[in-house]
């Protein structure tokens, strides 16, 4: 088994209001291994982006990391001082966001935006070295170097997202956190970008934390997947197990929320009800009010994430005891 690049333990993130605290992430545990693609899936508001921000130490008020530990190559990220944090961000862990339209500065040529990143982290590099690196990164993601001095509006959405990927890769990070990187793109462009990420990952050997609600895409792309519901991880398993042997009722329900492209046309039911509001979390299992198989115990005691070694899965459900 490969070693862990990142170990997240009991991570807790709150959003602090004047009169109330909303717990967005409630003590979650997972690992990201060397060279693996780890996926986080769940509905809007389940806390998956909050996790991503917390891992990169980008949580801002009213968000607050109130507990737990994030260890990156053995070091405690949550205790990094200013200088260490500066090196950690982008040299070691970089980010690709959903909105490629907004991630780039519209009034600066893209060459400057990539050079800035390289220069900030390598202040001794010469102008020529920086330019050469920028050209190399552009070629890596399949954009002709002659377009380096164009402005963001001169590129299509897919090309802008590729530029964001080039900027994320330019310092050779160990981990790239991708938060819905293809959601705003058309399906053919999405396929192109994903294939490119797979290709680059094989060449450069980085790990990926990939966040999206599109479970089908995640199963295709990732090695292991964590399913989040209402701020908690309900199941962590290899992609093949998420597809063939989902253990948690929520994982099954989420899988049945996407009509397939093949097989018989039959009615699917989705998931009844809506996720709970962060300030009114149910007692016990948070999925119980929407769960078709809920038992009396489910609304009393919260199940713990337990390992099921024969499946390589971890799941938190009373049905599995």
């Amino acid at each position: 088994m490969s070693s862990n690049l990142m170990e997240v333990r009991n991570l807790t993130v709150d959003y602090v209001g004047e009169n109330a605290i909303a717990r967005a992430v409630n003590g979650i545990d997972f690992d990201i291994r060397e060279g693996e693609a780890f996926g986080l899936a769940g509905e809007s508001g389940c806390g998956k982006s909050t996790v991503a921000f917390a891992l990169a130490r980008l949580t801002r008020l009213p968000g607050l990391v109130t507990g737990g530990s994030v260890r990156f190559m053995g070091e405690e990220v949550l205790e990094f001082e200013r200088e260490r944090l500066r090196k950690y961000r982008w040299n070691e862990v970089s980010f690709v966001f959903q909105s490629a339209m907004n991630a780039l500065n519209p009034v600066i040529p893209v060459s400057e935006q990539i050079s800035d990143t390289i220069w900030t982290h390598n202040p001794k590099a010469t102008r020529e070295e920086i330019r050469a690196r920028a050209v190399a990164m552009f070629e890596l993601v399949g954009i002709p170097a002659r377009r380096l001095d164009d402005y963001p509006h001169q590129f299509s959405g897919g090309m802008r997202q590729r530029i964001c990927i080039a900027i994320a890769l330019c310092l050779n990070p160990r981990l790239i956190i991708m938060d819905e990187p293809t959601t705003a793109l058309d399906v053919v462009v999405q396929r192109d970008i994903i294939e490119q990420i797979v290709d680059l990952k094989a060449k450069l050997g980085f790990s990926v934390l990939f966040i999206t609600h599109a479970l089908g895409l995640l199963i295709e792309f990732c090695d292991r997947i964590g399913i989040m519901y209402a701020g908690e991880l309900v199941e962590v398993a290899p992609s093949s197990a998420i597809l063939d042997a989902p253990q948690h009722p929520y994982t099954r329900a989420l899988g049945n929320s996407f009509p397939p492209l093949t097989g018989p046309r039959q009615r699917l039911e989705g998931i009844a009800g809506t996720p709970p509001a962060p300030r009114a979390m149910p007692v016990g299992c948070r999925f119980a009010p929407r769960c078709g198989q809920a038992m009396p115990v489910c609304s009393l005691i919260a199940p713990e994430l337990k390992v099921y070694p024969e499946l390589g899965s971890e799941a938190a459900c009373h049905l599995l005891q």
């Binding site: 509905e43 809007s44 399949g142 299509s156 897919g158 058309d186 399906v187 053919v188 462009v189 999405q190 396929r191 192109d192 994903i194 294939e195 490119q196 797979v198 290709d199 094989a202 609600h213 599109a214 479970l215 089908g216 895409l217 199963i219 295709e220 792309f221 992609s239 597809l243 329900a253 989420l254 929320s257 996407f258 009509p259 397939p260 492209l261 093949t262 018989p264 046309r265 039959q266 009615r267 699917l268 039911e269 989705g270 998931i271 009844a272 809506t274 996720p275």
Partner: protein
């Protein structure tokens, strides 16, 4: 859901017929630098009672333009649109108002399509007062509650006094559907009705539209970029590329045996958990060409793996592959 019906319905079922429609927009400055974008080129399709047609294609392919033409927000540059056999172009005043009651739209964004300062009750009462003058007093209130119950918002009395911000996205979209139903339409135009919603509630909305389509014998136009939900909800699918209808037919046939290279590319791109991603060596250019009245040939030619010399010269006429499946391609 019944298996795909192959047999074509009788012609009398046809409620809406779009025939050879071109749509053009003038882009650029007020006086100088003007150029013409041809958003639709020779598009023809029919909507039948009790059936749904899915329009599939990427952003900018002209899907929403089709819906707006049918809602008579735009008028076609060439070609005709008929409702129950009569051209909609001459409609004015009262006849146009009646047409708009017959053809209703549900929009993509339930956050933008409801007025945040008004109650849910107001949103449903207003169309009733405008389009159904026979209803008065208590009858309006009863009809509002019946509509809310019909779209699954119960107890209805709880919802009438609320405002949109108190509802979730899925509930808001149900209000938008109830509003469309309030005027007893024959045709429903649904423009990406689920793409802004949470994954777990999307199916609920599609199932509601499916039930309404069957029970009220509605003709539906379902606009989507997701070909899997097109197959799930719509009996027929039409694929648009740069304003050209490149392939059309029963949804099951389009997804299992696509004939046009663009449809094939689209289906190949859909996430499929049954396989693992293998990077392709050569990437194809992914920009849709900007189509103008001077453009010639097939718009897909630059990306097409089996393009011929003739593909740059002329767009082929539809080839009939049987069972209502047609495709426009020179190299089949």
């Amino acid at each position: 859901m019944s298996p795909v019906a192959i047999a074509a319905s009788p012609a009398s079922d046809v409620l809406v017929e779009m025939r050879d429609v071109d749509m053009e927009f003038v882009l650029g400055g007020a006086l100088v630098n003007q150029h013409v974008l041809r958003a639709l080129s020779g598009v023809s399709f029919q909507l039948r009672a009790g059936r749904a047609l899915a329009l599939v294609g990427e952003s900018g392919s002209g899907k929403s333009t089709c819906a707006r033409l049918l809602a008579r927000v735009y008028r076609p540059a060439r070609g005709s649109i008929a409702f129950k056999g009569a051209d909609i172009e001459p409609l004015r005043g009262r006849s146009l108002q009646a047409y708009r009651a017959d053809v209703q739209m549900v929009f993509q964004d339930p956050f933008g399509s409801l007025n945040p300062t008004q109650t849910i009750g107001y949103h449903l009462e207003r169309p009733l007062r405008l389009h159904r003058p026979e209803l008065r007093g208590g009858a309006i209130k009863a009809e509002v509650e019946a509509l809310l119950a019909r779209v699954g918002l119960t107890p209805a009395a709880d919802f009438t006094a609320r405002r949109p911000h108190e509802l979730s996205g899925g509930q808001r979209q149900r209000v938008a559907i109830a509003r469309a139903l309030s005027v007893q339409p024959a045709v429903l135009l649904a423009d990406e009705p689920t793409s802004m919603l949470d994954v777990s509630v999307r199916l609920g909305i599609l199932n509601l539209l499916e039930d309404l389509k069957t029970q009220r014998n509605l003709a539906a136009l379902y606009i989507t970029h997701d070909i899997a939900t097109a197959r799930y909800f719509a009996e027929d699918t039409a694929v648009l590329y740069a304003g050209h209808l490149v392939e059309q037919g029963p949804s099951g046939v389009i997804t299992s045996t696509p004939a046009h290279p663009y449809t094939q590319l689209l289906i190949e791109a859909v996430p499929n958990p049954q396989r693992k991603i293998t990077p392709r060596a050569a990437r194809r250019a992914t920009d849709i060409p900007m189509w103008t009245p001077e453009s010639r040939g097939c718009p897909f030619v630059a990306r097409c793996p089996r393009a011929l010399a003739i593909c740059r010269e002329a767009m082929p006429a539809p080839t009939d592959l049987g069972a209502g499946h047609t495709v426009r391609c020179h190299n089949l």
